[in-house]
Symmetry: D2
Subunit: 388 residues, 4 copies
């Protein structure tokens, strides 16, 4: 069935890329060893840290986000190293698996996928690790499978309270540029991010913001690494270049995206996402449905995962909405498959779009006879009006 | 203030151009005398008539819509000719003025800008014109200033009932490709249209669909004409070319737009616009506001003009909505300035967008303290659900 | 046959549109009655005059170039008015025909299509017109059919020498933005131009730069006009708007094109075109072929028309080159059909492109067994090197 | 200095991306877990093998080419494994270094950077390896630093002659889609490729075509791997998906690029590159300069590295050409720094562009007073004419 009007890409990333960003990506590729590229790269490298709240370097990879997970580990750790992780959901689980594959020995604190990292449990475990065998704590800031944001400052405080030297590695793939994050202030050692969420680019770039402590750790880390090696990249970056071919056109787009974020201001960006999230939750609550996140303080500003009543298929609902309203929603992942659907409200997004998204979901609920109280849009509108 | 998310261009044209159409327009210009252009033009000339319901020729001008008004007149009429027109609103008024400037003598049947052409009054006037001094009846199908659609078949019937030989010239600038129109079936002699509304292109092309009778009239019509001359264009069109430089890139886009309309099917296109219009009016009625159109059968499927209560400024409301919601609405024109605002719901548009638009308007009404009953979005949603 | 590499559009217009201009045209259409458009239009209206060498107003039409010919005449003249024109080639002939169609009485001084306007003959005719029946002199600055540029300052001087009040109307469609032109300094009353040549846009905009004298003449001019009416447009322009829907997206592109011209500087632009033209003629001379222009001082900087030896088809050569080298050249027009081909070397063009074009032409000459001395590219290169 | 005309990106990759490919990349990102993406991925996965001459699977990474080097090694080898490599130039050297970093023990047969892989030396070494300690032979098909293409069929024959079980890994980063390559026929086990050369895309995708033997080896290979792991990707590919976020927009472009290659036909593509290379070498020879490649049968069809006479700076020449002619050429790498410059003649490229490139280089040689015999363009043209 042909659809009129634009597609609403409301998965929790990749997000709707602004047209000026797409236009910049579509400019002809330039010589990645010439002066025009050099100026582009230098300006990006000067500005990118502000999105992370990092004064230090940010390594940019011509690779999608999963690669940056790998990079954070192989640059800082050695075979058999213990890593303390927390099961916030599917993406924490995948990072744990990836660590195992790389020859690390992660310890995965069990969670129920409905809340964030429990800092007190981390602290207890670290206190118990008197021999400091745990080399790193690796957690997900914003768990994309559940819509739960963890308190990273609290995680830092827990490590400090335990007086533990472990590195703090944080995945901000679905939060960076949407949810407040402070790499330096929160004492993060490696921040992992990707281009296709709050940065409003297509997938294809990923990032490691690195602390001095992380760079120092890299000197003795013995996991084999080449493509992901920080130091070679940072050395080349000194002059505005990269040691191997960068994703030139994506960088052209990144320049424009950074300008857009700067123009709006990071605080305004964060506030806008919170507004959209609150309005979405107001609709969900009005419908009488449950969010996957059940901790009030931990609702994600960038996405909302919604549970369906027993006996209803979230995937069938998503298919209905795609067909009927030309809108893509995120599916349930791992053990949440077919049980939840996820609404992305991040990136290049505004109030009117929020309303349209809620309306599209409600039309789908009605069409699939999923019990709900009509009026979600009005609830969302009231929320938006009250959060002006 | 920087805006996040895309702009909602909800003026009643130009409309939101689909990205594939913009991409086609952005392809490099081709040689307008070469074989690639020839194939492009031939395919367009073969297909364009289906949008008008016309088996005969459609003249394509590299000019915006006002030019096609002029073209319809200068090709068919002679200095001093009488033309019968009907005051449906601002655009009918402008066409009347244009006719006067060209040296014609239009007779403008007075209207109150709240309804369409009154066929019985036309018929009475034509019957009174025993000497057949009136050479043409020129009416606006969809009055963009008021949101009123006139019954063109009834106009035809009136002319026939009066047994009058006048040509029938119809402006479909804001209806073609959105509101049902049948050039042949309704016995229209010249249909005037533009690219920037239902055809979903930027402004820059305009059209005259012409009947045999109109071409015959052109032979004796003595208004001076050159750029607008039909016959030279139609002769060159025989081989897929134009007598002077056409708007090549716009034609590249038109090809894509015609494909999109054909894929959806004109009946589905018309139904989609009616759905959106009904939902919009449901919201307006719920708010307790009045539409400018006050004849039930004549509400336009492509736009709705909304009257504000005495003492409230429609322009201030529009400015508020532009600032707050990044949405452009149409202003009141002529004597409706600042008294009405106009919502375009035409072109590349879908249910979700309708909801967003209504939400944006309602937020503006609230912000400007314009008396209204909240809940317009739900009313619109109920309308959409009932018109599935 | 599929072609690799980009197409070389070397007709003498439309020209190769720079990618940033195409990208600007492909941005979404904006509200032509909103503040963003207003700012865009005001900046264009402030800058466009510099390309014409005009301090006064430039009227911008949403129409291709032929329309601006018509506009120049209908705004300044009355039915039956005499206009003195000069037969420089096909486009002068077309303008003459257009004037006749509009009800004027042009007097067409015969030319052989191999040189420019002969100012002395104009002067003689004007001196003979003691009663000042001639109301306008209308000439083509750069005759696109022959590659001949006329000396407009000399035309002005001739009118002045004859002490004649006729208006001076000049077509600069294929010279503006490529060949030096000075509307004010040369005392031109109406300059006619289009978007698709030196301004590096697709076809779809055209221009009239108008003098005070021309505006004064418009007050008493009685040719019917509406779409082309200057004063209504200029009045709306005062506030950055247009009286009817402008070609919004083309204006978005024009803004970028004007910036590109300003960055290069008009003098550098003119010098670049002269360089390319000299190199092209060096190749033509080396081949032993003849240019259509036979007056040394009058060779066009923007295109070169090349005559083929008797018995050879220019159109077959062009077809060969299109097939073989993916390059479009201009055809012979009117009585030059199949006898000449035209090389456009205007717009977004550089030295390397010149060489490629000459190479493509020479490969075609060889393939079609057209007698020529090989080595045209080297001749062009020597010319470029000598004009560094 | 502002440049007119398009930039000539004549580095040996990234290459000039065709506009339709850029347009496809600039389409909005789609849901990488939805049906539209699935259809896209399935069609690409069905077609991509034909470019490699591979009936088996091709793994597509959302990463640039260096990553695919790493992937080929980590999927097939274990820590401490011996790999036989051949020093064809800078990229062979980098691959050797990368292997070392990953914990392998490459044996690097010395070369002088002026010829290709010497199959007889490989064979001798493999024969001497009676214990089959060498687990893989890893060679560069087309050495981008020197413009030398190695005979991969001969390498295969050498391995077979030595009756050695080593895997054959081949880097085709600057040859795939430009220079004939036959993964299956030549018995290659892993072919490494990138998007930004013959595939005519920007950098950001890379590839491993894998043989059955390579997949079998992967089962016991013990280098840690996660992001680069073949089997997880191939398993997800079965249904048209990827295990982690793919570079969606690049895949949109890849679809268009594959269509362009198929339309031209791989044989025609290879022939076109050979033509351009022969013409380029004809010019170099005419100038009296030397190519870095000194083996006649091994000149690369995709790039030519040119040596400058002692005492002249290749980088200064390149800077001159960039400034003067808006053309980027490749620099000398490693020990060839400042001694050679490299002309890329690959990707979306045609005869006219060849000529322009040669002309631009010759103008630079003259400007920098580098001894050369003028007339390179004519020599190139004669070559092209003779290779029609």
């Amino acid at each position: 069935m042909p659809h009129s009007g634009r597609h609403f890409l409301q998965i929790p990333g990749p997000t709707n890329t602004p047209l000026p960003v797409l236009a910049a990506i579509a400019r002809p590729t330039i010589d990645h060893r010439g002066p025009e590229f050099q100026a582009l790269a230098q300006s990006i490298l000067a500005d990118i840290g502000s999105v992370f709240g990092a004064a230090g370097p940010v390594v940019i990879y011509p690779a999608s986000g999963t690669g940056a997970w790998e990079a954070a580990l192989v640059n800082t750790l050695s075979p058999g190293d213990r890593v303390l992780m927390f099961e916030t959901g599917w993406f924490a689980t995948l990072w744990d698996r990836l660590a195992r594959k790389l020859g690390l020995e992660p310890e995965f604190l069990e969670g129920d996928w409905r809340g964030g990292v429990e800092a007190d449990r981390l602290e207890a475990r670290l206190r118990a690790d008197a021999g400091h065998e745990i080399r790193a704590v690796a957690v997900v800031h914003n768990e994309t499978s559940t819509g739960v944001t963890s308190d990273i400052a609290a995680v830092r405080a827990a490590i400090d309270a335990a007086n533990h030297p472990a590195l703090l590695l944080v995945d901000t793939i679905s939060s960076l540029g949407s949810v407040e994050f402070q790499h330096d202030e929160w004492g993060v050692d490696v921040t992992v991010a990707g281009s296709q969420k709050g940065l409003m680019l297509p997938p294809g770039l990923s990032f490691n913001a690195v602390s001095e402590k992380a760079r120092a750790a890299a000197k003795s880390a013995r996991l084999p690494r080449a493509f992901w090696e920080w130091e070679e990249i940072l050395a080349a970056n000194e002059n505005g270049f990269f040691p191997y071919t960068p994703a030139t056109n994506m960088l052209q787009g990144l320049r424009v995206a950074l300008d857009m974020l700067a123009r709006e201001g990071m605080d305004a960006v964060f506030a806008r996402h919170k507004r959209a999230a609150a309005a979405t939750r107001a609709a969900v609550a009005h419908w009488g449905l449950e969010t996957q996140c059940r901790v009030d303080a931990e609702h994600s500003p960038s996405l909302t995962a919604v549970r369906l009543p027993e006996g209803h298929s979230a995937d069938a609902l998503r298919a209905e909405i795609l067909e009927r309203s030309n809108m893509s929603l995120g599916n349930g992942l791992g053990k949440l498959a077919d049980k939840v659907f996820r609404i992305g409200h991040l990136g290049d997004f505004n109030d009117i779009a929020v309303t349209g998204v809620i309306a599209g979901v409600e039309a789908g609920l009605a069409a699939r006879d999923i019990p709900h109280k009509p009026g979600g849009v009005e609830a969302a509108l009231r929320s938006l009006a009250g959060n002006g």
